[in-house]
Symmetry: C2
Subunit: 479 residues, 2 copies
């Protein structure tokens, strides 16, 4: 029956050209098929694409791009669509180039610790496919079971373990890119410490799909650490937890992860799929993981326990086995999703602050919560100052979505004001393009948009992302 309906709308000339490149079945163009491509994981803004094209190889991407250039039709590369800032969300009328069928591992070279994969390769699958040989891929966004490494490159994704191991850009050795003129270029390769010429690898990584489309990725893989231990510490006062974070870092320990959750966030994760039994009356917990050479770990754990106790911890414990450690992490990684258990809707924010400013930032976020009459939970990659306020709201109540968006923007302003930034790991996308003005001057913005113009002179590749749109300001952003 669905098939019958489909036959009623004929593909237009552009869609037919795309079908000639990738095959008839590999292009979606009916409205009913396009609805799930109206947005990515950031659902506050939506736009209807013109079509979705499933490419299978670099040549497909190059031909599709050349075709769309000729036709002056804008286009967007998309991975799994798990992004949290609308980087893959259409303004309306774009062709989406879906990279999910480019998901092969092309080459694995454990001697030189690298793998070459296509952009649609799922993050977690990489670690799974090499773990039996004792290796893993470090960047671990919470969406790692679904997100693609191509998307991770676009957003320069982080994860709970980026404190010690760095974000995606620290794990990319080379890229093959289709430029907006359809040319294919290779950048990087072989983990050369100081690549000659300009650092295009760094420039493309995190460019949010506005400079080119990644078609091949060479990533670093790491040897599994010899040992790993995890500490959970419950605090009655968030300032004590915060002070403990500073003291752990000051002691010269770089934990693999150093996470904090406040009481509302804990209420969420305890209502979700993996409850741990965290006390619901604490102000915050810290989840601290240390890894490395086995012999060094116990000393570090002892030091961490001492710091925690010294800072009035209510209770502190070390995971007794891998099962307990796994449960603690599953619970933590539910953090965002768990908000669904305690609120009809929620908006994830993503700011960065100097670690030492956390107590005052939390006070200001509490004020914002009060001002807009919305609960705000806080999940914090405390080690590197990456704060995720989660603004809880109910989209069915008129005006509440707008209030949530404004509260979110104000949280980012607070982060910028204390010398931080408006995104730690989720990117700017559509969501925060206006907030770029919180941290960049006109000259600084021009230096960036001029670079976009070099790669993407007609702005056909992912238009309207990353930079403020003329005539659009923060106040009317969600209006």
């Amino acid at each position: 029956m669905a098939r019958k309906k489909r036959n009623k709308v004929n593909p237009d000339a552009v869609v037919r050209q795309l079908m000639n490149i990738v095959g008839e079945r590999e292009v979606l163009y009916l409205k009913e098929d396009l609805i799930s491509y109206e947005c990515d994981g950031y659902t506050m803004t939506k736009g209807m694409p013109k079509a979705v094209v499933f490419v299978k190889n670099t040549e497909h991407v190059s031909q599709v791009v050349r075709c769309l250039n000729r036709e002056r039709i804008p286009y967007i590369a998309r991975g799994a669509g798990t992004g949290l800032s609308g980087g893959a969300t259409p303004l309306g009328g774009e062709v989406i180039i879906s990279l999910v069928r480019m998901k092969r591992m092309l080459h694995l070279d454990l001697d030189n610790r690298k793998a070459v994969i296509e952009p649609g390769f799922v993050n977690l699958k990489l670690t799974q496919s090499i773990s039996d040989k004792g290796y893993y891929y470090a960047p671990d966004p919470s969406s790692q079971y679904a997100c693609t490494i191509g998307g991770n490159v676009a957003e320069n994704s982080g994860g709970a373990h980026c404190l010690k191991y760095g974000v995606t850009t620290n794990h990319i050795l080379g890229l093959e890119i289709v430029l907006p003129n359809g040319e294919v270029v290779e950048i990087g390769e072989d983990g050369i410490p100081d690549q000659p010429g300009y650092d295009l690898l760094g420039l493309l990584t995190g460019s949010e799909g506005t400079l080119g489309i990644v078609t091949k990725i060479t990533v670093k893989v790491l040897k599994n650490p010899e040992g790993k231990k995890t500490v959970l510490a419950y605090y009655d006062d968030i300032n004590d937890a915060s002070q403990a974070v500073s003291e752990i870092i000051a002691a010269g320990i770089i934990p693999a992860a150093l996470e904090m959750m406040d009481s509302i966030a804990i209420e969420g994760v305890e209502s979700a799929a993996y409850p741990v039994g965290h006390p619901l009356d604490i102000a915050a917990f810290l989840l601290i993981e240390v890894d490395g050479i086995a012999a060094g770990i116990d000393d570090q754990i002892d030091e961490i326990l001492t710091v925690c106790k010294h800072n009035n911890v209510r209770e502190v414990k070390v995971a007794k086995d891998e099962a307990e450690r796994g449960l603690w992490w599953a619970n933590r990684k539910m953090g965002f999703g768990a908000m669904g258990a305690i609120s009809p809707d929620y908006l994830v924010q993503d700011g960065v602050i100097p670690r030492t400013r956390l107590p005052e930032v939390l006070i200001r976020i509490a004020e914002i919560s009060k001002k807009y009459d919305l609960r705000i939970a806080n999940i914090f990659h405390a080690g590197d100052g990456n704060l995720h306020p989660l603004i809880l709201f109910d989209a069915r109540i008129p005006g509440e979505s707008e209030r949530a968006a404004k509260a979110g923007s104000e949280c980012l302003k607070v982060c910028a004001d204390v010398g931080g930034s408006i995104t730690g790991e989720h990117g700017v996308g559509i969501e925060k393009s206006a907030e770029m003005r919180f941290i960049f001057s006109d000259e600084e913005m021009a230096a960036q948009t001029n670079i976009r113009a070099v790669f993407n002179p007609d702005d056909l590749l992912n238009p309207g992302k990353l930079f403020p749109q003329p005539g659009r300001c923060v106040e009317v952003k969600q209006g």
Copy 2:
């Protein structure tokens, strides 16, 4: 007397304008004063600048740049002049903007592990000024006693310890830059894991002074490791040494440094200021340093000793104290300079190869040595595949400089052919601009020169560097 001579030549209108900005005594313009600015540490190419201006602050730099733009006069930023690829060498007629008087530390924030310095701050002085508090700055080029951190940013300098700690770009948190239009912009700041917008910090770092002039630098400082141990291993066969390197890395150990020197290089360092008493009949030695949490170090040292022995080491030992360790490093760091003790002249090359290809690369370098009848020593940051062939020659013998340059270029071709690169840490500069063609296609080069055009549209800032000059090819490079 010198003063009298000086009065004979009057400054021209441009020099007078520069004097008005920085003060009369802060501009050199007489030929006799300019001679030491004809080249940097790469002495094969020289050019006479028009003048040298000593700036004291960002405003000076901005005004000087605006003045030179108006007058259409090219200019070059220069630190200590220790660069090894001619990045600060004039083609002829440029104004050199010397940053050596901008050498203050502006801010030190050990709680957040960062320091803000001016570009003329000397590398080693940073570590010296914080070591009593238990901190250090990681990138350690061999010239660290003299080179400036501004120059390190321009060249993205490495050092013996970059295997574990990364090169300069991994230690820069923020930059203040004067763009070629005279505007001052701030990029980065606060060690945000994923800075919003494009990674300009990465783009500027290592851009060899072609995109802007750095006037302020925020660097990461690190806590001193709790412990440190150093191993010296002598080998009769360089293939055994090479295999040991691979096995150490494969064992999951990331040493702080993993250096190799061949027999000619050893002959050099044993003839120089800090002889250790290395046997002169070995094929190579490895110098391996492990640092970190004290408890983990002994295990790693045991494993390294086992790997060395398993690979037919002649003798292997652990430094018995800090004095012995210091001597081994002083000896190693003399590597380049020591060539002066065994040859009238030498040319340092700087290639990168996949670690596992070392044995065949050394065979091909030996063939190049034979072909050009010049001795070639090899110093190798073995851990990250950064090879420094040192071509020994005598510039007084007609044609020998040219032969050395050709031999150097062929060594780089070998590196590129095995999938490596033409520079690991010294940059491209004037020296290797033609060899960029060994590794970049026309499209890839265009992507880079287009970026230069965005920042530096009139090519007045450091012209003739980094990219091949039209009509100039490798063969005639030194002709």
